[in-house]
């Protein structure tokens, strides 16, 4: 008999659950089953940001199990046809100026099979270490590529309708602000439905737990950060933000590379303001930031939240804590995966 056998004996005769307790616990479960469900809340902001990185990794890893020949399947369907909120003038004015600048460029002509390269700088929320992420995608979202430390390139299959977000979101996106807003909301509604019926990937990069409007903002934010976006698409995405209630324009925010600009922001129920930072002069997208606008303490029993922090030591964030800071350092059409020099027309 060793220490594990001894341990197996310790308290072995603890009473089994009583029939009454079983009935009570089962009744609580049945009651929950019969209550209409809201989307499951995700964990707090720190884990949420980490989840984002995981989401991209998961998309790449799980992409490998897709059988060859899987096409994009049915399309995203028509844009959102319900009522949009009225555009907010302050946000629309910035978007209009971005549009004027973008219109000086030649019209977009994009080959869906072309490879895009995106390099982002990301500050870790706790250590504040900077990391550079290099990603390649085809514009149709059917392929991703990564380069490991030894320089080896690996190409994976993607699923444009299951990966959230997918580069393919931009492929059939309208170039006008209202059309883009409808496209964004249609995609958010599709994501919410897909989470319910299990048709999109479990770990996703768009948090729908804080409401449809915050999700719409997050989708625009992720698309701008993660993908190759032409100036016209960029202006339309800014314009779409004007139709999202609660979005404001903030002066002077710096991205992870220290570049200053103005920002569009939306504040969620945890008092985290997510921001999309743009160059005040060229309207070029720069990066993202998320910041607590109030002191925040993790609630003790948030229903449905993955209890992955120590309940005896709830998370606390003082006002001004920055939990996400990124910068998009390079982005363009290249000749193939692993290539960093722009091989196509400059965006």
């Amino acid at each position: 008999m060793d220490e594990l056998d001894l341990l197996a004996e310790l308290r072995r005769d603890t009473p089994r659950i009583s029939p009454a307790a079983t009935t009570a616990a089962r009744a609580r479960l049945i009651e929950a089953m019969e209550t209409p469900e809201r989307p499951t809340r995700q964990v707090g902001p720190v884990a949420w940001r980490a989840g984002l990185v995981a989401a991209l990794a998961a998309a790449i890893v799980t992409g490998t199990v897709v059988t060859e020949g899987d096409g994009p399947g049915p399309g995203r369907g028509p844009g959102f046809t319900g009522m949009l909120s009225a555009a907010q003038p302050a946000v629309a004015a910035v978007a209009d100026r971005a549009r004027t600048v973008a219109d000086r460029e030649p019209a977009d002509s994009l080959d869906p099979t072309a490879w895009a390269y995106v390099e982002t700088l990301q500050r870790e929320s706790q250590s504040h270490e900077m990391s550079t992420l290099s990603d390649w995608y085809t514009l149709d979202g059917l392929h991703y590529a990564g380069v490991d430390d030894s320089g080896r390139i690996t190409v994976f299959n993607g699923e444009p309708l299951r990966d959230v977000p997918s580069q393919a979101f931009l492929l059939d996106a309208p170039n006008d602000a209202e059309g883009m807003a409808r496209h964004v909301y249609a995609e958010v509604d599709r994501i919410i439905q897909g989470e319910r019926d299990h048709t999109i990937r479990g770990e996703i990069g768009v948090d729908t737990s804080r409401g449809r409007d915050v999700a719409a903002f997050t989708l625009v934010k992720q698309v701008l950060l993660s993908f190759y976006v032409t100036p016209r698409q960029q202006a339309a995405l800014y314009g779409a933000l004007a139709y999202i209630p609660g979005v404001t324009v903030i002066d002077d925010v710096a991205d992870a590379a220290g570049r200053h600009g103005q920002a569009f922001g939306i504040t969620d129920s945890q008092s985290v303001r997510s921001e999309i930072i743009i160059d005040s002069r060229t309207y070029r997208y720069l990066g993202t930031r998320a910041i607590f606008t109030e002191d925040w303490t993790e609630p003790s029993h948030p229903p449905g939240i993955a209890p992955d922090s120590d309940p005896a030591h709830p998370l606390r964030f003082p006002k001004g804590t920055v939990i996400e800071l990124t910068a998009k350092m390079a982005s363009g059409i290249v000749s193939g995966p692993g290539e960093r020099e722009e091989g196509g027309e400059s965006p």
Binding site: L7, R11, T14, P15, A25, E195, H198, G304, A312
Partner: protein, 198 residues
């Protein structure tokens, strides 16, 4: 796939039931019926039957709400459920350690028990059990969680790793550390001899 057949079958595995419960929520009740008793026993051994009743209810409510994130490739939901339960036990961390220390000191287990059928006799624990309880109280929470998931929860190392969301190598190193501490505490006795001598 034979998912329609499988979901209709009473022998459906946990993953099939959980996936089926996404469209038919009532299917999730079978997960409770299958696992509630064992989860309760594991939790009750750590923090007492009263706290365990509440934790079991919470465990299955949490599992139900999070079921869309369940990996359908895992036929056995035990690691997932034990992981949720272990996280909830953490709220009772101080009580757990206090009970273990008291058992170690007095030889009487103060673990709260529901009045079961008949009178629960509180016999004074043998010396090596007292030492064992004392050693358990000194373990770090991660080490104790790992050890008790393996020994009381009867999870494999891989399952314990999944339950705790740590690499399996971490489970091994935690177990090594925990066992070494137990052996050090038990060092003064020969449990083999006591077991033989009864």
């Amino acid at each position: 796939m034979t998912s329609d057949l499988a979901t209709a079958s009473p022998a459906a595995d946990d993953a099939e039931l959980i996936v089926a419960s996404l469209t038919d929520t009532e299917r999730f009740a079978a997960i409770f019926d299958r696992h509630a008793e064992r989860i309760h026993h594991y939790v009750a051994r750590r923090v007492g039957t009263d706290a365990a009743e509440d934790i079991v209810a919470e465990t299955f409510l949490t599992a139900f709400r999070k079921r869309s994130s369940y990996d359908p490739e895992r036929p056995d939901a035990r690691p997932w459920l034990y992981g949720i339960a272990t996280t909830l036990v953490a709220r009772h961390h101080r009580s757990e350690v206090r009970y273990l220390r008291a058992l170690s000191r007095t030889g009487v287990d103060p673990l709260p028990e529901s009045p079961a059928d008949g009178v629960v006799e509180r016999i004074t624990a043998q010396d090596h059990m007292r030492k064992l309880a004392g050693a358990l109280a000194t373990l770090g929470r991660g080490d104790r969680d790992t050890l008790l998931l393996v020994v009381w929860g009867e999870l494999t190392y891989e399952e314990a790793a999944r339950a705790l969301g740590v690499p399996v190598g971490t489970v091994r190193s935690r177990l090594n550390r925990a066992r070494r501490k137990l052996r050090e505490r038990l060092g003064g006795i020969d449990p083999m001899k006591e077991a033989r001598d009864g």
